[in-house]
Symmetry: C2
Amino acid sequence: MTNNEFETPAAAEAAFYKALEAADTALMQAVWDEGPDLVCVHPMWPELHGHRAIFAAWRRMFAAGPHLTVSTVPVLQRRDGDLATHVVHEQLGLRGDDNQQPPVVATNVYRHTAAGWRMILHHASPTPTVTIDEDTVLH
Amino acid sequence: MTNNEFETPAAAEAAFYKALEAADTALMQAVWDEGPDLVCVHPMWPELHGHRAIFAAWRRMFAAGPHLTVSTVPVLQRRDGDLATHVVHEQLGLRGDDNQQPPVVATNVYRHTAAGWRMILHHASPTPTVTIDEDTVLH
């Protein structure tokens, strides 16, 4: 990952959450694909379209420096050709604040490009803590 | 669409919202792919994994018969090989109730199968009414 080319969707995803926690815009930029047909939905935000709008928001969020703690639990990972769809439970917290934040469910879609796997969609939304599971546990 | 084989992701999506409004479980079943690695997130619900859990929920929702009105606005449609990712604004209402419900943003992912395009993921969540748009409008 020295050159930020992610060889697997999981590597891109790990970098995404690392960038979120570290407020690292450059790493976040390495995670996302280029172009206008990208979508990012933060919990209870209007959706953001395209690299420019998405990064204007990340830069605003990251301007205050690292202030989040992030832990994730994978829910589903599937790959269909050059696309990968992951569903993740996110538990976000504020550094120095022990109050539990409400959990978030995120859909992350990655595309295999000439420069490795890149995120093309992030849709995060509040979710209850209870999970309804299929008999098949996927990982 | 006589045999419910959807030739385009848009046709599958139209059938999805038609099934939702008509509380038509058979049509909804025709829209979704089979298998355990499917995900459905209704607004503020725990996510549902796999065909069985997803359809247990649809059947519960549809048991009361048709009671929703549904209108949608496409936000983004992209296709990468055999997968299509759509983002849609949903405006749901209750029949006979003029109160405006809060808008919903949905990510819908479709896969091209031997039996046409099928839904593999539906992630719907509450969203503010304001949209932040990229300069490029996609359709």
